[in-house]
């Protein structure tokens, strides 16, 4: 009897994962080439970065870790607020909600599309760093791990904000930006956390970008505020919180 239950559980899990992957593939096909997604995913972090980097007395190569961090932040959380709001408008989202899959799979599937998109986009500054500025990477494996966890964390954040029951993309984006923009300033991307006032350092601890950026810095320089293990644990904690909260909100707002 137990093995039948286990078999059923494995089959269920396999169904959930394949449904989540189907949702991710659908989003990739439909939304990756939308102009607003491209503009916001590539240009917005790039110009944002330029605005703060110009005038700094640092060589461009040293700014690559920060550029990767904010690219991951903006591009990974960009797809879902657009896709879910648009799908509410054309009533395809209702169909996802009525499919034989759990809300966790729905949230995971939506997040995966942002995750892969973000990894692709973040490779641009990474490659530019290697080819144009010859920026050295001290721990390549840590860099890959940091990018994976950071991208997935912010993709889930995007899915979480997209739970807000509106058909208006701008409405979700403006709410999301009230969180994303301050994160840049409190997470050590432009100003090292150690140089911040005490209150700023405390606030930095509740930002997931702090841990993502810290690990990316470690991968490039070998120096960091926290150990990479702690960074991973914190990012996983944020992913879990975002996933559970998103699940709860989708359930609640559907009522």
């Amino acid at each position: 009897m137990q093995s039948i239950n286990q078999e059923g559980g494995v089959k269920r899990l396999s169904c959930e994962i394949s449904a989540a992957w189907a949702i991710a593939k659908k989003d990739m096909r439909i939304y990756y080439l939308k102009s607003n997604i491209i503009v916001a995913g590539i240009l917005f972090p790039f110009f944002m970065f330029l605005a703060f980097a110009i005038g700094k007395n640092a060589s461009p190569g040293t700014l690559i870790p920060g550029l990767i961090s904010i690219t991951l932040l903006f591009s990974s959380s960009q797809i879902e607020p657009v896709s879910i709001a648009m799908e509410r408008r054309v009533k395809t989202f209702e169909r996802l909600l009525s499919a034989p899959i759990s809300l966790y799979s729905l949230v995971l599937g939506e997040s995966l599309s942002g995750f892969f998109y973000s990894l692709g986009i973040a490779c641009l500054p990474l490659i530019a760093g290697v080819i144009i500025f010859s920026t050295p990477i001290v721990h390549a494996a840590i860099l890959v791990i940091s990018m994976i966890f950071t991208a997935f964390c912010f993709a889930t954040l995007g899915t979480l904000f997209a739970a807000y029951p509106t058909e208006n993309v701008g409405e979700i984006m403006s709410m999301l930006n009230t969180v994303r923009l301050p994160l840049i300033f409190i997470s050590g991307v432009f100003v090292p956390i150690s140089s911040m006032p005490h209150i700023g350092q405390e606030i930095a601890l509740i930002s997931p970008l702090t841990y993502g950026n810290d690990m990316i810095e470690y991968a490039y320089t070998g120096k960091s505020l926290f150990s990479p293990l702690l960074d991973v644990v914190m990012l996983m904690t944020f992913i879990l919180i975002f996933q559970i909260t998103a699940n709860y909100l989708y359930k609640t707002f559907n009522e």
Partner: protein, 318 residues
């Protein structure tokens, strides 16, 4: 086992009771119509039965699976065709099919075979590689239906399946639904087209203001509306000027002008026929046709829901 079993279902939104303690069941293979005016609680009921929304209290089961606590298993056996053709415009017809099959865990070989078969049946196979944004409304609706059939559902929720469609799509969809019914698929149909429900359904429920006010076979419901017998008369000249005088004939409850005909509501059709014949002779009119009608399902619907018929459809009484 019943396909759908609803027991004391209540759904409240704040102080508004959208569904008020409704109970009904739908047998396997039955075609069940769910009728009601706008805002009556039809959509809320469907959202609960499909697990999208949770009831405030009460239970609903789909083939024995509680929709609130065993949602995924309950959904696995159903197909849902909503009023909106919710296909992905940026995907091709084939990609839409494959996506739907993947959501419903249909294996690769089965989904390719089934998709091909269904697209051909719905006359969309030639357009399978075209993106849906170029499709007409009827084609999108057909694609919506095809996508919901890819998992071979035992229960199909149809929300206004033929509303606003072209003749070709309308005919194809009705034919396929008839085939599904013959194949033993349970159909839960909501429609504003009462004649459609009359023709297709084994039983209908009429819901109004969150309450089920009648539930029975269409013919049984019609028998409850004896006062709604009518006759339709067409003269060679059907000016609306005759309305006033015709309404004063004996035994006439009401007269309406409907196109090139006058429709008399009465409890005694024979008496009206005599009176109309006399009227025609006196006014030098020629009777082109005369038809006696029993109460229609629409008459029952109007009577039970407190709506009134106007020339262009049904309107709520203020």
């Amino acid at each position: 086992m019943q396909a759908i079993e609803v027991s004391h279902l209540i759904k409240k939104f704040g102080s508004l009771t959208a569904v008020n303690d409704i109970s009904f069941s739908v047998g396997e293979g039955e075609t069940f119509g769910f009728l009601g005016p706008n805002g009556a609680g039809k959509t809320t009921t469907i959202r609960i039965l499909t697990g999208v929304s949770r009831p405030t209290s009460g239970t609903a089961t789909i083939f024995g699976h509680d929709i609130e606590h065993d949602t995924i298993n309950a959904r696995q056996s159903m197909g849902i065709v909503s009023e909106n053709s919710n296909v992905y415009d940026d995907l091709t017809a084939w990609q839409n099919m494959v996506f739907s099959a993947e959501l419903y865990h249909v294996g690769r070989n089965e989904r390719e075979k089934k998709s091909t078969e269904l697209l051909k049946k719905f006359e969309l196979y030639e357009r399978r590689n075209d993106k849906a944004h170029g499709f007409s409304k009827g084609m999108k609706r057909r694609l919506t239906l095809v996508m919901r059939l890819v998992n071979s559902p035992s229960l199909l929720f149809l929300d206004e399946p033929t509303s606003g469609l072209d003749v070709q799509s309308n005919l194809i969809i009705r034919e396929v639904i008839s085939d599904l019914i013959l194949d033993g698929v349970t159909v839960f149909l909501t429609t504003h087209n009462i004649e459609e429900a009359n023709v297709m359904c084994d039983r209908v429920a009429i819901i109004n203001k969150g309450n089920i006010i009648a539930i029975d076979a269409p013919e049984s419901l019609k028998k409850t509306s004896k006062g709604s017998q009518s006759i339709e008369v067409s003269f060679d000249r059907n000016s609306a000027d005759h309305l006033d005088e015709l309404s004063r004939l004996s035994m006439v409850n009401e007269v309406q002008k409907a196109g090139d005909k006058f429709k008399f509501y009465t409890e005694d059709p024979a008496e009206i026929i005599d009176a109309v014949a006399v009227y025609a002779r006196t006014h030098n009119l020629k009777i082109i046709s005369i038809t006696t009608l029993g109460p229609s399902l629409e008459d029952v619907f109007v009577k039970l829901t407190g709506l009134q018929l106007a020339g262009d459809g049904i309107h709520a009484i203020d």
